[in-house]
Every structure is written in structure tokens, then in C-alpha cells.
């Protein structure tokens, strides 16, 4: 099946070099999104930190975070994958693997 969305995002990444993100950039961007959306201190945003248990996110905050990651990194995160992104580290890992 021809997947229009991923085709577009692939095209984007292949032909627009500015969208190729270094891994360090991904981690930094993820952290800044979390600081912005959850209103936490950057020092709290450690790889082990859980959005809900450590950073005070409720279920709506978590949905909003996933959407922000999708927007920022131009990816589509399916619900079954999103459920597995519970910590800062899991978000960074997922995006490093899928935002390229």
C-alpha cells in the first residue's frame, strides 16, 4: 500500500538536508518541548524521567507531547507506538530511529 504520509516525509528528508537531524539535536529538541509544554525545569528532564510519574503530566499532556514530537520531527507516531513512549529517553530513542 502506498503510504502518502511517510512518502512525503521521506522525500522531505532526502532532498532537504536541513531536516537531517543530528542525534544531539533530537535530544535537545525533545527536552525543550518537554520543558515548554510541562513547565518543568530542564534539570528534571533526565532520560529516565517518566512524563506522568516524574514530570507531572496527565493523560492530555502526554497526548499533546506526542503531537508536538510529530509536528517538530515531521513523523507520524501510531497509537500503539505512542503507548510505549513513557519516558524522556524512550521519546528520544523513538525519534532518533524514526525521524531520519
Amino acid at each position: 500500500m502506498f503510504d502518502n504520509l511517510s512518502f512525503n516525509s521521506n522525500l522531505c528528508i532526502v532532498f532537504e538536508p536541513q531536516n537531517i537531524l543530528e542525534m544531539a539535536d533530537i535530544a535537545e529538541k525533545v527536552k525543550s518541548i518537554i520543558v515548554e509544554k510541562l513547565g518543568v525545569e530542564a534539570s528534571e528532564v533526565t532520560p529516565e524521567a517518566s512524563f506522568t510519574n516524574d514530570l507531572g503530566a496527565d493523560s492530555l499532556d502526554t497526548v499533546e507531547l506526542i503531537m508536538e514530537f510529530e509536528k517538530e520531527f515531521n513523523v507520524s507516531i501510531p497509537d500503539d507506538q505512542a503507548e510505549n513512549i513513557q519516558t524522556v529517553g524512550q521519546a528520544i530513542t523513538y525519534l532518533e530511529e524514526n525521524a531520519k
Binding site: 510541562l38 492530555l60 503531537m67
Partner: protein, 415 residues
């Protein structure tokens, strides 16, 4: 069943002419206009390019950014005004029974800015609904009363009344009824609106309901003037803490006034035009007088709905003449919308606050901007044109009438 007495023990105001109750009264008593060019969006292509916006307001002075961003402006305004009123009431928050404290708020529209922003974002996309998860809880009108209760832990009845420009009066009357029937001891009530948005200004101008006096915004809201050409939209909030009289007395609370009656009616006539004979307005005032168990002659001041529309202003005055007869000429009447603009669902709230302050200060705030009184209006009515005045005010009545033909009237009395 013997009804309990209900008094006002706290006030809050965030208005185009003042961001606190004291600033608001300063503006009201000196006849200040809150009108100016629209800054909230680019209004260049709009028929009306001015409004009564609140000024020098930074929400983060009141609500942490992370909480504020999950609230539409109309809810932010509700929080700021209700905070002031609750603080003013001087509760010992640990001593009061929070299960018996209600929050009944009024808003005619709700989170319109939130709705617009989300739909504009959607419209710019490819049809994939990337709707923010906070969109619904920000947008719905009852998020205002919900947020006030969350902030303060008030667990009594909690909802928002929606009846266009009579919304806040309906909220006040509902709060009144819960307290006087003994269901709750205290209720935070009032109303807010944040309608300086593209859909609101665009929609009201499409109805030709708004003034288009773009060359002189400060005089655009001119109730009773022969050259009035529509209302001026305003934003903000008014808040009242209503409390059962014995409860207030027992804790030594400061009492501003007693809420003695609430009345309502429906025009049953037209979705936007008021009844040509002012029949609905008359019924609402008569109902409120009956509820208050006072004679028409006891009313000293009427804060009119008086929106500065060609049709609405005279019909309300006709209703006042029909309701009060000869006494209508002895009362003071004014439209404070001439200063604040029309706060729609918040109008009744800021006007109830104005009426209570009028009683407190024994001073009638003016109807500003009336240069040539409309000859179709009875010239012997005291419309407090252009300058406020001191006078005895024991009883003040405030009207609110809304699109849909909703009418609601509240009456306050000096204690």
C-alpha cells in the same frame, strides 16, 4: 418554606476601564471610555476596527504560564476576577465548608478564540485532524466555572449559564436561588467573555449590530444618542461572592448589599430583534420586583441593558416607563456600557458590580457620549448623561437582555 437572605460579600472586576474593582469604580465614576483600536487581531479589513479591550493585562501575573495556556482568555479573565472577589470576601478557607460553596458562572459564547485558532490550524493542514487534546476543555463555556472550583476546592453546584447577554444575570439568579433555599452557603458567581476575535467581530458586524464609528472609537458606545449606530464589543469579567446572610454575619464579613430579587422572561418574538413594545423587558422587571417583594417606587437606580443599538435602547426605556409609571422620572438611569462596551455574557456581571458600587458610594455612574439625546426618547427621564452624580440609592436594578429573546433582571438593596 422560609427563604434565607443573600448578601454580597466579595467583588471582582477585570474590565476595559479598570483591572480591579477600585480601578473599575474610578473609571465608572469619572466617565472613562474603555474603547480603542483592536489590538488582538488584524482588523484592517473589518467593518469595525475598534473594541473595548482590557489593558495592561499580563495573565502570568495571576496564573502560572503552564496553567494559563490550558485556559481560553475568557477563563483566564474568570479566574482573575473571581480571585479578587474571593480574596475580598476574606474567607478563612480552612474554616468554610467547601462542599457548600458553589460556582455558577455566565458566558454567552465560551472559548471562541480557542475554537478559531484550532480550526484555522486545521484549515491550513491537509485534512488530518491534529487537534490539540486541550482544545475541548479550553473551549467549552463551563471550563470557566470548572477552573474556579479546581483552583479553590469549591465542591458545590458548578455550571455555566448560557443566555447570550443575559448569561451573567441568569448565573447570579441561580446562585441566589441555591443560597436562599438553603442548599449552599456561598456561591461565586458572575460572568466573563473574550469576544474580541475575528469570528465574533466579523459575525456581529455581518448582523450590522456593531458600531462602525471607526473615526472616533471612544465615542462609539453612545446609548440614547440620536446618532448611535450599534454596540461596541467589550471583554473582561465581573465576579460576586454571594453568601447567606447569617453565615456572613457569623464570620463578621463586610457586606456590600443584599440581593433581593431576580426576574426573567422571554420575548418569544425574534432571534435577535427585541420585542418592539419592550414586552419581554417589562415582564422581566415586573418579575424581579415581585420576587424582591418591593414596590416599583422603591427603585432608585436602573443600570440598563442600554447597548447603544438603534432598536434596543428605546424599547428598554419604554418598558421602564410601562413598569414604573410616574416613578420612572424620579429614578436615575444609566448605561455603563457607554464606558465598558458590551461584555456579552460578562455584561450582567460587571453591571451588577457597578450597581452594587453605586449603592456603596451613593453615586450614579454616567451614560457617557450622549451628545444629542434621541428625540424619540422621553426627554424627562434622568439618563445621567455624560456626568455621574451623587444621590440616595437604596435599591438598584440591573437589566440584561440577550439574543434569543432572553431577559433577566437582578435587584440589589443597601443593607
Amino acid at each position: 418554606m422560609e427563604l434565607k437572605r443573600v448578601v454580597v460579600t466579595g467583588l471582582g472586576a477585570l474590565t476595559p476601564i479598570g483591572n480591579t474593582v477600585s480601578e473599575y469604580w474610578e473609571g465608572l465614576s469619572t466617565g472613562k471610555s474603555g474603547c480603542g483600536p483592536i489590538t488582538k487581531f488584524d482588523a484592517e479589513k473589518f467593518r469595525t476596527r475598534f473594541a473595548c479591550e482590557i489593558k495592561n493585562f499580563n495573565v502570568e501575573d495571576f496564573i502560572p504560564r503552564q496553567e494559563a495556556r490550558k485556559m481560553d482568555p475568557f477563563t483566564q479573565y474568570a479566574i482573575v476576577a473571581s480571585d479578587e472577589a474571593i480574596k475580598d470576601a476574606g474567607f478563612d478557607m480552612d474554616a468554610i465548608n467547601k462542599n457548600k460553596v458553589g460556582v455558577i458562572w455566565g458566558s454567552g459564547i465560551g472559548g471562541l478564540k480557542t475554537f478559531e485558532d484550532e480550526m484555522i490550524y486545521f484549515g491550513k493542514g491537509d485534512g488530518t485532524p491534529k487537534i490539540n487534546p486541550f482544545f475541548i476543555p479550553k473551549m467549552i463555556a463551563d471550563s470557566s466555572s470548572g477552573q474556579i472550583s479546581i483552583r479553590n476546592g469549591f465542591r458545590g453546584p458548578n455550571y455555566v449559564t448560557v443566555s447570550a447577554c443575559s448569561s451573567a444575570n441568569n448565573a447570579i439568579i441561580d446562585a441566589f436561588n441555591y443560597i436562599r433555599t438553603g442548599r449552599i452557603n456561598i456561591c461565586v458567581t458572575g460572568g466573563s467573555e473574550a469576544p474580541v476575535t475575528i469570528a465574533s467581530v466579523g459575525g456581529f458586524t455581518a448582523m450590522r449590530a456593531m458600531s462602525e464609528r471607526n473615526d472616533d472609537p471612544a465615542t462609539a458606545s453612545r446609548p440614547y444618542d440620536v446618532n448611535r449606530d450599534g454596540f461596541v464589543v467589550g471583554e473582561g469579567a465581573g465576579a460576586l461572592v454571594l453568601e447567606e446572610y447569617e453565615h456572613a454575619k457569623a464570620r463578621g464579613a463586610k457586606i456590600y448589599a443584599e440581593l433581593i430579587g431576580g426576574g426573567f422572561s422571554s420575548d418569544a418574538y425574534h432571534i435577535t430583534a427585541p420585542h418592539p413594545e419592550g414586552y419581554g423587558a417589562l415582564l422581566s422587571m415586573l418579575d424581579a420586583l415581585e420576587d424582591a417583594q418591593i414596590k416599583p417606587e422603591e427603585v432608585d437606580y436602573i443600570n440598563t441593558h442600554g447597548t447603544s443599538t438603534p432598536i434596543g435602547d428605546p424599547q428598554e426605556l419604554k418598558a421602564i416607563l410601562d413598569c414604573f409609571g410616574e416613578h420612572a422620572y424620579k429614578m436615575s438611569i444609566s448605561s455603563t456600557k457607554s464606558m465598558t462596551g458590551h461584555l456579552l455574557g460578562g455584561a450582567g456581571a460587571v453591571e451588577a458590580v457597578a450597581s452594587i458600587l453605586a449603592i456603596q458610594h451613593q453615586f450614579v455612574p454616567p451614560t457617557i457620549n450622549c451628545q444629542d439625546l434621541d428625540p424619540a426618547i422621553d426627554q424627562n427621564l434622568d439618563l445621567t448623561l455624560n456626568k455621574g452624580k451623587a444621590r440616595k440609592i437604596d435599591v438598584a436594578l440591573s437589566n440584561g437582555f440577550g439574543f434569543g429573546g432572553h431577559n433577566a433582571t437582578v435587584i440589589f438593596r443597601k443593607v
